[in-house]
Amino acid sequence: MSPVGGLTWTVYDADKMTQAETYGLVLSELGKMNPKIVGLSADLAKSTKIGKFGEKFPERFFNLGIAEQNMFGVAAGLAKVGLLPFVSTFSVFASMRAVEFLRTDVCYQNLNVKIIATHGGTSFGSAGTTHHSIEDLSIIRAIPNIQLIVPADAVETALAVQACVEVEGPVYIRIGRSFEPRVYQTDQYGFQIGKAVEMKSGTDVTVIACGAVVYHAVEAANILEREDGISVRVINMHTIKPIDREAILKALMETRRIVTFEDHNVIGGLGSAVSEVIAESGKACAFTKVGIPDQFTPHGYPEDLMHYYKIDTDGIVEKVRELLGKEFEKEEDWEDEY
């Protein structure tokens, strides 16, 4: 169990902790090494686990109360005077409640503010629509200067939180609410912002996923290989922006079929980012994006919601099988009817 980057956090611990708990621990460790780190939350210090940092460094932690707009403005001010603010609230509030403050105060001025947004996607299941963030990736992706990361599990969360300190400028890390299944057994897989990870090689079809869906993608790929004899490549696209064009183009050339899966609206998130790369390449490829089909999500336990939207193991198996029946068309087959 190797300590990461001089931190006492270990892979072993990640097994027993949620993404948020891991984040709280890693940030507390980073706080020891970097006195510039300050923490901010909006009455969600406990829920987002930034409170762990707050307990260790009360003089460097500010709970702004339930007032997200002010929180982002204050973060901008702290960054202006050379500090390194970490801001945590639920993703729905980080990306929407205060978005113009994030966009204009933080991103426009390209300030060094790190946003660790928890309860991403539909992970706060029974809290319902007001607490689901199915638009966050789309909104954040459209703001210049900010980088956007969706870690697959607790190990990757720890690595992403450490890595974001190394880059200058705003970074948004979207994590889940609860016990996201463990994807990585080691932290030595070369995590790098902007560099996708191939979880499994394959030649028939490529599945691209992010966040908690990655675990299911790997499970589904194994089932498809075993039961259908299909060779499925699985890519963990943990960084949505900047997107790893190379990994997408390689998958396009080598498998000619790509399906994206995400806990997000199919508009504007991972699927859109991947499809933009495909479309601009000018090459043909059978492609589907799976996620929330542009509707407000009902409440329910997260596993039920993932099942309903076909982003769990069963759903991914079903959707990949569907895509395999669908060939990309060769030019000579095109009919000029629209």
Partner: protein, 281 residues
């Protein structure tokens, strides 16, 4: 109208049942915002059973009064109250929180009968209530609009935007209830983000402001009567309450903002509620 003794007894009986039902739904559902639901029961019961002009069998009746739960995380309390008031079958709450149910932690006005606005993100409900109050003016209706706010919720700047506008437009038909339970998620309001003097703040924003014991139904009725006759602008009734009221191990404990109850804890909670009402069968 002041409370008669008979009425008081009836309303207390209802409030006791509602507190126990909230405990049950929390037990069935795996978890709910129970603390802030228990704190608002008494004034909600007075409103729904004594003051509001409503017809639960005709929830979209145009001439009804409207209540917006701005502190939308009180969904479990609101749902139990609506069920007991006859808007829908209480049995439906057995599936609270589950996929496919019309009811979850934050109520959806498109699904839950009797819910006037989909809330849950703090600091939205008062604006919507103000919109309804102004709408009544445009449409020449005599509706009363009630808005229920959390004290932590008053950290949100948007609350004060609507406070300013309500005074500007002198919406006397808008009556706010501030569930002043002194707690939010991360701890007591005064240690997370101090609000005091909260009454002076509302007053300074032009609201006719009263501070009462939010568990005393006599005081609640008295305050509503005064607010209803005040016609110089909006009213705020600051209800001093106890988060988790009725369940001894939850009272004033921020850890019970949100939580689940196993069968044993639920039984204990109900015994505690019995003790709160020695004179109610």
């Amino acid at each position: 109208m002041p409370l008669t003794e008979q009425e008081h007894k009836e309303l207390k009986t209802i409030a006791k049942k509602i507190r126990k039902d909230i405990v049950d739904v929390t037990h069935w559902s795996g978890g709910s915002h129970i603390g802030g639901s228990l704190s608002m029961v008494d004034f909600m019961v007075v409103l729904y059973w004594k003051y509001m002009r409503i017809d639960p069998k005709n929830p979209s009746w145009e001439d009804r009064d409207r209540l917006v739960l701005s502190k939308g995380h009180g969904g479990v309390g609101h749902a139990v109250i609506l069920a007991n008031r006859g808007y829908f079958d209480f049995e439906l709450l057995k599936e609270f929180n589950q996929f496919g149910s019309a009811f979850g932690m934050h109520l959806d006005s498109k699904k839950a009968t009797g819910v006037e606005a989909s809330t849950g993100s703090m600091g939205h409900g008062l604006s919507q209530a103000l919109g309804m109050a102004l709408g009544a003016r445009v449409l020449k209706k005599d509706w009363k609009i009630y808005a229920v706010l959390g004290d932590g919720e008053c950290n949100e700047g948007s609350i004060w935007e609507s406070a300013m506008a309500a005074n500007h437009y002198k919406t006397s038909n808008l009556i706010g209830f501030l569930d002043r339970n002194h707690m939010m998620i991360d701890g007591p309001t005064e240690s997370v983000m101090s609000l005091e003097p909260i009454d002076k703040k509302w007053e300074a924003f032009g609201w006719y402001t009263q501070v009462i014991n939010g568990h005393d139904m006599v005081q609640i009725c008295d305050a509503i009567d005064k607010a209803l006759t005040h016609n110089g602008g909006p009213s705020m009734i600051i209800c001093d309450t106890i988060k988790g009221k009725g369940v001894d191990f939850m009272e004033n404990n921020p850890a019970w903002h949100y939580g689940g109850l196993n069968a044993e804890q639920a039984e204990k909670a109900k015994l505690s509620i019995d003790k709160m009402y020695p004179d109610v069968p």
